[in-house]
């Protein structure tokens, strides 16, 4: 049995009396795409934050390729192979799209500081950046300032940046947040081509996306995994239906 790429055991996080992550256990196999779904307030984003290193869990362990990372800060985890996109677009606003992705390329050598050569003229950064932008369909917008991109383009930019990091695991927090129908289709198509070459944890509300992308679905309710398995099984699970319908 091969070692899971990501192994989470006993993860627990509470903010005062509010328990957001309740003794969570799960594994992520290499190449797998795991979708995490659940009603609002279930603790999905907090889970991603704990995996990425923004939030320290109160208890539990996280291992990446067997290596414990739960005490490592976010930048160390990123260097170890975790890339993420944020629910609210987080890019460098005054840099161009290409500049942003070039930074992601540069991050593979984050511990080396170079002080003299202009970064924007460095083809070792720009060429892979352009390739990543091409993959997400932003080639035409490479020179546009990130703050001038449309919402959908900015979400795609985050995906390009995640790709350019060539990570072991991608953590995507609602990549389609705020997108219209056509943009969502495009994003789903894009993610479908990406998922074959990478391991992904995906938070999404769009069930269409989940159906098309997820190898496995985990349902989070009040910080607990109440169901886990293939999408079709999960959506028929009475506990899950109860959680979603009971919410209304």
């Amino acid at each position: 049995m091969t070692e899971p790429l990501l192994a989470v055991r006993g993860l627990r996080k509470a903010f005062g009396a509010l328990i957001v992550t309740d003794k969570l256990d799960f594994d992520l196999a290499a190449g797998e795409t795991l979708a995490i779904i659940g009603p609002n307030g279930a603790g999905k984003t907090t889970l991603i934050a704990q995996l990425a290193g923004d939030v320290r869990p109160d208890a539990g362990t996280i291992a990446l390729n067997g290596r414990p990372i739960v005490h490592e800060p976010a930048d160390v985890r990123a260097r170890l192979g975790i890339a993420r996109s944020f629910q609210i677009t987080t890019v460098v606003p005054t840099f161009s799209a290409e500049d942003n992705v070039a930074l992601a390329v540069q991050s593979r050598t984050a511990m080396q500081m170079h002080f003299w050569q202009p970064a924007r003229a460095d083809e070792r950064l720009r060429e892979p950046a352009r390739a990543a932008l091409e993959r997400v369909g932003l080639s035409a917008r490479a020179g546009v300032r990130a703050s001038d991109l449309s919402h959908g383009e900015a979400r795609a930019l985050e995906i390009a940046m995640a790709l350019a990091c060539r990570p072991m695991v991608m953590l995507l927090d609602e990549p389609m947040a705020g997108m219209g129908h056509d943009e969502s289709r495009a994003m789903i198509d894009l993610l479908r081509t990406i998922k074959t070459e990478t391991t992904m944890v995906l938070i999404e509300h769009d069930m269409d996306a989940v159906a098309q992308l997820a190898d496995r679905v985990m349902v989070l309710v009040a910080g607990r995994a109440v169901a886990s398995g293939a999408y079709d099984d999960v959506r028929r699970d009475p506990v899950v239906r109860d959680a979603y319908l009971g919410e209304n």
Partner: protein
């Protein structure tokens, strides 16, 4: 515009000689030295969003180290200037390592505190003059060049200014600089990409401190006097004013801001003893209405 500035800088001693006004060279030297400090501060404030309210401490430390060496007979510029830079760099490393754990207004305050520590240390250390300050017996010396000549010294200072300008311009466009600038706008993103942001910021902070220290050594040579008020918080405030007057995040703005602030004092104190009132009003108007400062006016377009 840079060319024009360079021409003006070079022209000053020539004009001074023609018009028989040697004090113009002195005034220009003072502006250039302050310009170096302001430029170094712009590096961390304008590009790195690290608003340090204690930058004068590095200026003062550099000045004192150079002054003390000169007082003890060590006058080679190859010793006094690097020693000043090294001392300032070490102080900046210590101050930075502690201060950069905080952010926002807390960072402003803790850098202010460290600046005050240097100020009070220089007041308290009577062996180095205390409040009276320390007279510096001679200028540093360079082989082949006579730094005692005001014009020669001015040119050397201008060379340092231009050299730092070139280095800083490369720095902000380098891989290192892009990280610092990216972190200024989105620390969260840079961290998520895997950059050790605190470390990059510390390096930037140390570079800025070291250069301010060099300027301090030049000041010790220039004015032949170092005193605690080189480290006062009002001095740090003046450097910040120079950065914003000149145009934050423009590098060259540091020089323009230094020129305006220094010129302001001389110009207006001729007209009225209430020049501070005028400066206060001008400062408020600039902050409220003319964010990009003089550089913005001259350049006419957004810098990137």
């Amino acid at each position: 515009m840079y060319l024009a500035t360079l021409l003006v800088l070079v022209a000053i001693p020539i004009l001074a000689a023609i018009f028989g006004q040697p004090f113009w060279v002195n005034a220009a030297t003072r502006i250039v030295i302050y310009g170096i400090v302001a430029m170094s501060l712009d590096l961390i404030v304008g590009y790195g969003a690290m608003v340090s309210f204690g930058h004068a401490a590095f200026f003062a430390l550099g000045g004192y180290v150079a002054g003390i060496l000169l007082t003890n007979g060590i006058d080679s510029a190859f010793v006094t200037w690097p020693a000043a830079m090294l001392a300032a760099a070490l102080l900046a490393a210590g101050v930075g390592a502690l201060s950069l754990r905080t952010s926002g207004v807390y960072f402003i305050m803790i850098t202010l505190a460290f600046g005050q520590m240097v100020y009070y240390a220089s007041v308290g250390l009577k062996m180095f003059g205390g409040t009276d300050g320390l007279p510096v017996p001679a200028r540093s010396t360079l082989p082949l060049i006579d730094l005692r000549d005001a014009t020669v010294f001015y040119i050397v200072c201008t060379v340092v200014l231009v050299a730092f300008f070139v280095i800083a311009s490369r720095l902000v466009e380098s891989r290192f600089g892009m990280v610092v600038r990216g972190a200024a706008e989105s620390e969260r993103r840079m961290t998520a990409l895997g950059f050790p942001v605190a470390r990059y910021r510390l390096v930037a902070f140390v570079i800025a401190g070291a250069v301010a220290g060099l300027a301090g050594a030049l000041w010790a040579d220039f004015s032949r006097f170092v005193s605690p008020d080189m480290a006062s918080w009002t001095r740090s405030g003046e450097f910040l004013v120079m950065v914003i007057l000149g145009g934050i995040g423009s590098l060259a703005g540091g020089l323009y801001g230094a020129a305006v602030l220094t010129g302001f004092e001389s110009l207006f104190s001729g007209f009225t003893e209430h020049w501070m009132l005028v400066l206060g009003i001008v400062l408020i108007l600039i902050v409220l209405f003319a964010k990009r400062g003089i550089y913005g006016v001259l350049a006419g377009r957004r810098h990137d």
